[in-house]
């Protein structure tokens, strides 16, 4: 039996001609006219673009994070990371809450704002083509081999080799190696990634770890909370009964009128 090795794409910006063949291939695959929308920004019809705003033409597409924030955010698992690498979307499950757009650290997912039955739109690493043994359409279309498809570990080795072989042409960092716990899509660049508008301050731990901390507290809060509230209920009830049994010696309204200045702290145990 063959073990599935997670696949990915290595995009080498030093090789990119800015020809836009990848964009055309992707648009054609998704039933659109080959000509991309002006502005070269990801959109509900452009899953990938060649961004010309910087010193180098830069591909933009979903990074296919190893532990994707979008998938962890989705309440109904409409987005999920597959073992083969792609992060895929199932519109039939989707609620349209847009938490995935809110959560993605790379601002990738797009929404069909002008549709009465809207979907989230993002690159799916051509998951269907991969399953059939093919290559992503954009990789296949690239005339300069600026995009290479393969198992992620091999791509990393290849990227390291290129940097080592030609340290003057390459910025030493592989983008996607560690960002938010690593991504299946990796980038090599001639200049720093900051200069190309990539988010560079991202933590190296997966973002879902941060919400996991909150969610893992749930059982504890429920357990301790239920115990605490029951105890309070029982104790204050006892006290009330005792007070009642002892009769009007201690009138229930003894705290009226407004007692002397309170610090506010005495209420702390109520809130």
């Amino acid at each position: 039996m063959k073990i599935i090795r997670p696949q990915g794409i290595l995009i080498d910006i030093t090789r990119c001609l800015g020809c836009g063949q990848c964009v055309e291939a992707c648009r054609t695959l998704h039933g659109q006219s080959p000509e991309p929308e002006p502005g070269a920004r990801l959109s509900a019809s452009d899953r990938t673009v060649v961004d010309e705003r910087y010193s180098q033409p830069v591909r933009r597409m979903c990074m296919h994070c190893l532990d994707p924030a979008c998938a962890s955010a989705c309440p109904v698992a409409a987005l999920r990371k597959t073992a083969a690498g792609p992060v895929v979307y199932d519109a039939s499950r989707c609620l349209g809450c847009r938490y995935c757009l809110q959560a993605c650290p790379f601002d990738v997912p797009r929404y069909e704002w002008d549709q009465p039955v809207p979907s989230v739109v993002k690159c799916d690493l051509c998951a269907d083509r991969l399953a059939a043994g093919g290559l992503p359409a954009c990789v296949e279309a690239c005339p300069a081999e600026a995009a290479q498809f393969g198992p992620r570990d091999e791509l990393i080795a290849e990227a390291r080799r290129r940097i080592a072989d030609d340290p003057t042409s390459y910025h030493p960092r592989i983008y996607g190696l560690e960002e938010v716990g690593g991504t299946s899509v990796l980038f090599l660049s001639p200049v720093s990634f900051e200069e190309l508008g990539f988010p560079t301050g991202l933590p190296s731990e997966p973002l879902p770890d941060r919400t996991a901390v909150a969610i893992e507290r749930v059982p504890g809060i429920v357990g301790v909370g239920a115990l605490f509230l029951s105890a309070v209920w029982w104790i204050t009830k006892r006290r009330e009964e005792v007070a009642r049994a002892e009769g009007p010696a201690e009138p229930p309204r003894r705290r009226r009128p407004d007692p002397p200045e309170t610090t506010g702290n005495e209420e702390e145990h109520h809130v």
């Binding site: 989707c94 919400t211 309170t262 702390e268």
Partner: protein, 384 residues
């Protein structure tokens, strides 16, 4: 016609106009998509309907769990008269939040999906479950009023028997999802401005919701007192005022400590756009009400309590909008200003809440009998 009547007529027509316009916009939204009536974008996928209708709606309904807990679990009997109004406010608040979600979700007909399609790693999944369950709990808590009105003794007895477990469940569910609304934003480091992004967001959201809940009780008491010509029960109001003070002091300490620990306290005073917004929110919604409430003279007066409550609510709303919208502007390189159509829909929901509260209060035993004498006549005229 007296001036008072004229004014009533004016507000009534204004309310119905808002509702009608809101409904028309909602119909458009379902025909043409969210983009047609909102300024939402891929940079700002969440706008006013999430930031105000959902985040503030849930937060301001927190009086439902705090007051029921204080009376039924802490046995602070003096608060008994405000349990029902607080539960009603909370129940209507949650119903409106769900209506807002139906309007805001792209595919609201899939609203039930979290029941069967699970993703326990998702904060949104947890919130969906908690909101569904807690709305059911609130409906059960509020059902006592209906049973009493209908004279269904046995149903009422049964409902009363389950009060304690219901209240416990309500507190736990509220605690979970009030804090989870803050946990939403834990996924957005580097996107949400560091003045607001914090690992403590869930805790801060919870504490501020407790304060907002008390503040809403003060605001709601005053409004319904006016609407129904009811005397405010000052001892009860004062007690709530003191609890609000306690919650606000805890909130102030928590916010200050959080900023200090994260080392951004200095940025509060560096004069940026975000800094001024933070100052506004803290001054208006935390510091001013603390000052008001800690002076015995003001705390003793209806107007002082009313002002403190109102300020807290305003500050709370600004905080939620800062976390959900303005705190994202810098990193998005874009701004979001709600379209007038979004504002009208939000206004319509608030209006619907007021009208529904009035209607229910006029027909069901929401307020203690003594105070009810003049209710039906005047309230019915308004809702007719």
């Amino acid at each position: 016609m007296s001036e008072r009547n004229l004014r009533r007529r004016f507000w009534a027509s204004f309310a119905w106009l808002t509702l009608g316009l809101g409904l028309a916009i909602v119909i458009l939204r379902f025909q043409l998509g969210l983009g047609a009536v909102t300024n939402l974008s891929d940079q700002f996928p969440w706008g006013l309907w999430v930031g105000f209708d959902v985040l503030c709606g849930v937060g301001l309904a927190a009086g439902g769990f705090t007051i029921t807990a204080l009376v039924h679990l802490f046995h602070i009997r003096r608060l008994e008269p405000i349990v029902r109004p607080a539960v009603l406010t909370a129940f209507l608040g949650y119903v409106l939040v769900i209506v807002a979600l139906v309007i805001d979700l792209g595919r609201p007909w899939n609203l039930w999906h979290p029941l069967v399609m699970w993703n326990p790693r998702s904060v949104m999944f947890e919130v969906s479950w908690c909101v569904m369950l807690y709305t059911a709990v609130l409906a059960l808590e509020a059902s006592g009023m209906l049973f009493e009105h209908l004279g269904w003794r046995r149903a009422l007895t049964l409902q009363k028997a389950f009060t304690t477990p219901l209240v416990v469940a309500g507190v736990l569910l509220s605690t979970l999802h009030q804090s989870s609304l803050g946990a939403f934003y834990l996924l957005s480091p580097g996107k949400l401005h560091p003045l607001w992004y914090s690992a403590a967001l869930p805790l801060l959201f919870w504490i501020s919701s407790v304060a907002a809940g008390f503040a809403m009780v003060l605001v709601e008491s005053r409004l319904s007192g006016r609407a129904f010509g009811r005397e405010l029960e000052m001892p009860v109001q004062r007690l709530v005022g003191r609890m609000l003070l306690g919650a606000l002091v805890v909130l102030a300490l928590a916010r200050g400590l959080d900023l200090a620990v994260r080392g951004v306290l200095a940025h509060v005073f560096d004069g940026t756009y975000e800094a001024s917004l933070l100052q506004l929110e803290v001054t208006l919604g935390i510091l001013l009400p603390i000052v008001l409430l800690s002076h015995r003279r003001w705390r003793a007066r209806a107007s002082g309590l009313w002002a403190a409550g109102l300020l807290t609510v305003f500050g709370f709303v600004i905080h939620r909008l800062n976390v959900s919208i303005t705190g994202f502007e810098a990193s998005r390189g874009a701004t979001y200003i709600p379209a007038w159509t979004e504002i009208v829909v939000s206004l319509a929901l608030v209006t619907a809440g007021f009208l529904a509260f009035r209607w229910v209060a006029a027909h069901l035993p929401v307020f203690p009998p003594r105070a009810l004498a003049r209710v039906p006549d005047r309230a019915r005229r308004w809702t007719r």
